[in-house]
Symmetry: C2
Subunit: 354 residues, 2 copies
Amino acid sequence: MSASTDDTARAGVDGGEFRRPTMRDVAARAGVSLKTVSRVVNAEPGVSPALADRVRRAVTELDFRPNVGASSLRRADGKTATVGLLVADVANPFSSALQRAVEDVAMPRGVVVFSASLDEDPERERELARAFAARRADGLILVPASDDQSYLEAEVRAGTAVVCVDRACRGVDVDSVVATNRSGAAEGVRHLFAGGHRRVAFLGDRQSIWTASERYQGYLDAFAAAGLEIDPSIVVHDLTDTGVADGATSTLLTRPNPPTALFTAQNLVTIGALRALRRLGAERTVALVGFDDFPLADVVSPGVTVVAQDPWAIGKLAASVLFSRLAGDTSPTQLHVVPTTLVRRGSGEIPPPH
Amino acid sequence: MSASTDDTARAGVDGGEFRRPTMRDVAARAGVSLKTVSRVVNAEPGVSPALADRVRRAVTELDFRPNVGASSLRRADGKTATVGLLVADVANPFSSALQRAVEDVAMPRGVVVFSASLDEDPERERELARAFAARRADGLILVPASDDQSYLEAEVRAGTAVVCVDRACRGVDVDSVVATNRSGAAEGVRHLFAGGHRRVAFLGDRQSIWTASERYQGYLDAFAAAGLEIDPSIVVHDLTDTGVADGATSTLLTRPNPPTALFTAQNLVTIGALRALRRLGAERTVALVGFDDFPLADVVSPGVTVVAQDPWAIGKLAASVLFSRLAGDTSPTQLHVVPTTLVRRGSGEIPPPH
DNA sequence: CTGTTAGCGCCTTCAA
DNA sequence: TTGAAGGCGCTAACAG
């Protein structure tokens, strides 16, 4: 039952598994040398049509799949036609739009994408970058979870292209693509001021996250420019998911002298605030401006006014930069800045009471 | 400038790139044999602590990264600690929740995930499955876009584990994990009947998609069980994105004798219908039940009643099955069925006029 | 406990 | 235009 007297395509493993056909098998079947098969498979010129045809037939008959790992081992450029993508959470709409954009640039080039979620954990960032490097990804697109990417220097020197997205890389000289977090946040808060609000609460994620602290700076900028004092009791950080954002919003709105408007600095925070507003029946009395757009922001009522980033455009740009580096572009690295836009949908235009 | 007289770590490529250190480099630096390095790197027993330490130091000093491709080439099991995930669209909430679940099962095992979007294109399915196979993914989790996966047979025979999700695989004997599409859809429609509706429209995706046709069957089942006639003029198929779903809903509701309730058979269709309902100011007069839950379904007003699938649970199950197959489970393949649940949120409880 | 030899599947270099 | 030899980085099988 487990005896393997057949030496062509059976593995010795039990369960009746077959050995994958190799170029040698294809060559034998087509009656040519291994190198000729290699030429045909890689579309190298200089093979007579007759031979090429015989090879192609053998390839389909045997269901031959070239082994990219083996070929990159010997190949001059060592490329694997693989890139890695590290985001905060693939289930977050910002991340998944980014991922889709990267895919859309990679696929037409025959490049496949590794992806992984970091959950803002610096250790996971390093582990997964290492895991992708061990699989010899040609490039890495990374939404940094840590504040120092110098651990990537060896990879970069070895020829791995790296692009940081959403937050700039630090400790290593590579390209980054970021949005106008600070000025965009300031614009959102100014919009609330323009509507007559003075008590504008800030709800944001952990300040150790670069974008979170930038957006908080924008909030501060807007207050400073308007000559207004900040009330630290309506500033809340460390909101890491919708649940805690919901709770924090409740607390804020049910205390004495509540804010008349909310600025939520991240999409999950916005959604949490939205839930709280609805539960309290306050969605038409308390103004809300969120940073980062999300699906259905236009369908809830009132629609949610946001400072929108374009994750798809950001991803496209990041991937384009990555591939041009892989193609040999050695110009100085750049920090690419993508503008945000204020999208008025109703929630941000609610006037203060009085 | 491009001369390379240095033979240690410089590549001949211009641009000053460095060759990656190999086990040989580590061995030389630690003053041991290559095999000893291999043992330490792979945590094989039988290396004296002193040597192991020297090796580990050399590894960090050189920033050595083992080459998984090369190792799998020689390794007995040929495994790459890599799985591929093929979904309809990573940017769709159902797909991205699924992806996250797969990741959560894979990561603790040191397995990384390739992912790709198929956009319901059968050709892309085959191309990407082939691309993942060429990189020797140990397993494949697949939301089929085509109705025949027999092209995977060679992979399966070669030992690649395959699990189909959302729709059962056909043409190849592998595990599948699906939801109760037909009975769930019937339950959703029955719920509208129970609320007094008789004119219930069906809005769905292309019937060539297995889940779409199953859900349509459920719609038919509910009508048959209730002894009601179907009005084909309020049945619309081929709704492939939110835009066309929005348009179709508008058309349906602005014609004479419009339906009093909508059954939308996919999350993007539900969202499109929602947009149309709001634009027409009909969200509180026309009932709506959607198949498949989506973020913020509870935040819009009224909340959207849905037949919910649990993509995270489905993904967890699919990944568990995959890894148990990879671990050697050879029991007969199964069709795992995950139940759907009706979630009442308001839109499905709107009564008919009169 | 440590090292040597051979070869995984493929591409490079070079010769016919 | 075709093919033979050698080696990429690593591990299996066997020595010592």
